[in-house]
Amino acid sequence: MGKIIAVHSYKGGTGKTLLSVNLAATFAKQGKKVCLFDLDFRAPSLFAILKLENAECWFNDYLNNTCDINKVLIDASNKIPSKGKLFVGLANPATEAIRDMSAKDRKWEMRALGRLLYLRNALLNDKSFDYLVFDTSPGLQYSSINAIVAADLVAVATTGDRSDVDGTRRMLRELYNLFEKKTGIVINKVLDYNSKNRQEELYDRIKNTYQVPLLGIVPCFCDILRAEGNFIFAQDKPEHPFSKLLDEMAKKIDANEVR
């Protein structure tokens, strides 16, 4: 059966959206059937990044139980030059929708978790999706914790920033662990990642600091900033080192090597 991956982080701007989009695209490139969901209801961004036409419904509507999941999914496979399939479920970027989502009560959040869990049946079982990728809001947001609980694997993005390291460690202990979630760490925006010494030193330090499996180490690429979010590296620049790193990550996840 397929898997649900939640991409999460303690702090904002760690690269969750970049990683989610490129991981989903990489799986699709490798021939998988994938669906990427925007669960960052506070600051929806897949809508702008993927430049898609409107779907019949937003993912918000699915969680509100006013719309079937099939009306949410947008087929973006034409963007991926392979036999794989890439679908997308978008968060509604309208200000009113953001306000609405931030004012939900516990009961609603409980039902939303039920609907996220139901995707396992509706998409992984019935529609034989290989992967669902959840892009989330940073920190202890309700929607993000729901995504974590529903997921099989949490990919945790973090940078070298002191506050980020500290918060990430706390979340490992007091959030992912309590839910007995499989987690893999992605260290993003790493500087001076060229020398062998630096790589080994970093590798050891990460092992000691987090004591969970390492999904990947991603250097800071000026090319990514230069692109200004205008293309998806995994598909538009398949030979770029960033795309190669994502190939590796996808293979690790696929081979179930994140333990």
């Binding site: 516990r106 009961k107 959040e109 409980m110 039902r111 978790l113 039920g114 869990l117 309700y142 914790i145 729901n146 609980v149 959030l175 309590l178 839910f179 007995e180």
Partner: protein, 123 residues
Amino acid sequence: MSKDEVLGKKPLVILEKIKENLERLNEKMEVIIELQRHDSKDVPQSLSDAPLDVMTLLSMPDHLRKTAMTVCRAGRATADEISQQTSRARAVESAYLNQLVLMGYLKKERKGRKAYFYADKES
């Protein structure tokens, strides 16, 4: 109930009733034992219809969270089914499940000889 019924027509039915009542009593005893085993101070009692959301799950003691999470994933399950998922004894799961019912997080429904547990999403 007339003396006739008790002695003549329905002794079996009555025995069944007694057995059922004993089983329920047994479940309640298990809950009491479990409550004593764990520090019952941090277990709020008898909240009726408390939503079983993720923040609530986070704040629960570990042993109950595991059971509650398994019910969430299953949607609806018996103590037997939950114990298969958690690899803990059926009696233990039964106690935790009944405790979660007392706390208002789960609902319990009897179908014949089986009791099903689920998180109530409707009320």
